[in-house]
Symmetry: C2
Subunit: 348 residues, 2 copies
């Protein structure tokens, strides 16, 4: 009698016993000899799957014992995903690394392109979306939580509107959420993001750092969930090849940005008070994800795979009434930095 209802009727995912070589429909496949766009879809899928393998291997190595459990799923009309979760390890409380490849149909109002023929009204527009999404929650309160997500989105050209173009864009980011500030960690993390950005455009890091600070705001508290990183969305005003390379570079930067911090902090001794503060910050993380995060709220409302979407939530979280850290304490410093974002690379 245990069943799931869905807010929106989309094809229900089905579990698969094996990882397919690709989730792309045949016409999009790497060997289809098809148009350029297929090549981008296929190359993006390969990039996110390689990233998933590499990040999972690095997390397992840092954990030193626990292994990821894998769930593969697909949808009858094409598309699917691989959800990997490591829970209750030696170092990680909960680590999720998901890839998904989704085919869908969007209402014409959501198609934002300048129309080729202003009088033609397009019907529903098929779209393609592929992405990797990951949240890594360590146990030690001095080791930060990491989130990253890189995605590629494409619409078909509307068939009934001659001249209206195919649309595509990239989105993503890498940000981290410590419960305590170690300046060398924050500086290292942001420096790696900046290096990845600077290879492509010197305006990227300052722009995407600010975008990240703006996006991860728990509005009702006036504080960010963490200490930022980079974030961008709807990016299509650069060369497509350049943005594919940029996304790839960002994804490759996850391990060097994060794993050295984990190695430094994973065995730091801590008290119950340190742990309780980390749990309170995890509560803020839950507030952000359930109330504001676009991917989460969109996924919950459109019948996405709930367990894949909510794997981002921490294993444990805490809400104390009216908790206020003592002014000047380490907890207060973290909170202050979440309220007033800093330039971590050039700290004054």
């Amino acid at each position: 009698a245990v069943v799931r209802s869905q807010a929106v009727a989309i094809e229900k995912e089905v579990p698969e016993s094996e990882r397919p070589e690709t989730f792309l429909r045949e016409a999009d496949g790497p060997s289809s000899g098809n148009a350029h766009h297929s090549a981008v879809r296929a190359r993006f899928e390969k990039m996110i799957r390689d990233t998933q393998d590499a990040v999972c291997a690095a997390v397992e190595a840092a954990d030193g014992g626990a292994k990821f459990k894998e769930d593969v799923w697909s949808r009858p009309g094409g598309g699917g995903g691989i959800t990997r979760v490591l829970q209750d390890g030696a170092v990680f409380e909960k680590a999720g690394v998901n890839v998904s490849v989704v085919y869908g149909v969007m209402p014409p109002e959501a198609y934002r392109a300048a129309k080729g023929d202003a009088n033609a009204k397009p019907g529903p527009i098929p779209f393609f979306a592929a992405g990797i999404s990951s949240v890594l929650h360590p146990k030690n309160p001095f080791a930060p939580t990491l989130h990253f997500n890189y995605r590629y989105f494409e619409t078909d050209a509307p068939k009934d509107t001659p001249g209206a173009p195919r649309q595509w864009w990239f989105g993503g980011g890498t940000d981290f959420t410590p419960a305590y500030i170690f300046e060398e960690d924050v500086k290292h993390f942001h420096s790696v993001q900046k290096q990845a950005c600077d290879k492509f455009d010197p305006s990227f890091y300052p722009r995407f750092k600010k975008w990240c600070d703006d996006y991860f705001l728990v509005t009702h508290r006036g504080e960010r969930r963490g200490l930022g990183g980079i974030f961008f969305d709807d990016l299509n005003d650069y060369d497509q090849e350049m943005l594919l390379s940029f996304s790839t570079e960002c994804a490759s930067s996850v391990i060097p940005a994060y794993i050295p911090i984990i190695e430094r902090r994973k065995d730091t001794p801590f008290t119950d008070e340190h742990k309780a503060w980390q749990q309170l910050r995890r509560g803020r993380y839950v507030e952000f994800n359930l109330v504001y995060d676009r991917g989460t709220t969109f996924g919950l409302k459109t019948g996405g795979r709930i367990e894949s979407i909510l794997v981002s939530l921490p294993l444990t979280a805490r809400w104390e009434y009216d908790h206020k850290p003592e002014e000047g304490s380490e907890e207060w410093k973290l909170l202050d930095a979440c309220i007033n974002p800093k330039d971590w690379i050039d700290l004054h």
Copy 2:
């Protein structure tokens, strides 16, 4: 540097050192000799404040040691509230009992009355809202969480629309959220709700029981957060005096419905597995409150007092990836009852 930004600019609440006798504006006060509506406002405020006192006393007695902490606040233009929280007691993990009296202004589109003069367009409409809201989270996994909320809402008659009426309505409910089913507890709880309803209208219990089952749905999971109770909203199609008495009766029923269950379950021995399951159900509670609950989401978006709004969240919660209780287990039975609501009074 620690400040709070607000999504909507409303007057910020200020802390008060003492409880005022009333939060009503002078013209609304019990001694103003004013119109009938003032009497309802004043009598409703007295009812919710008496209920707050009675429930807090009963919770403290059941806890056997811990005391509520009280925060009183007011807004410069009138209105205010009393937030009482008991945290980390012997029996209760977190118990919040809040009353608030709010004066505000609603956009004319929200004024739902048939207009007296169809051509007149009303300006912004002043409104009055008073309510009590409470969530009690016990520690023992066999003792259920309780929620109740009773509220009264009134608009002024639009001054610039002759003939358009003053509007008023009542809302509220009492529902409970066990992690494990004890049929005698569920039957007792629902029977007390039914008794309160039956004193006023035999249609109330079946109607408000179903309304409760429909409202507390965690839509993305297709399961309710708990085992229901009663819920009603926008109730104005009965005599106003009758609905005031009905709300009062429901509020008086909270203690006899709940405290006997707490007394029976508060010392039941339990294992780490029982506790982990309770924590998982608390995670669902958080999902409902942050994603769906109207009071919470409205409060977060309109700059209400955040700590009063989020006192409903449990002290601790847990999210495990893809947790599925074994078919036939006690955990499975609870989940099944959250998915398929039952008639608890006439169980077959």
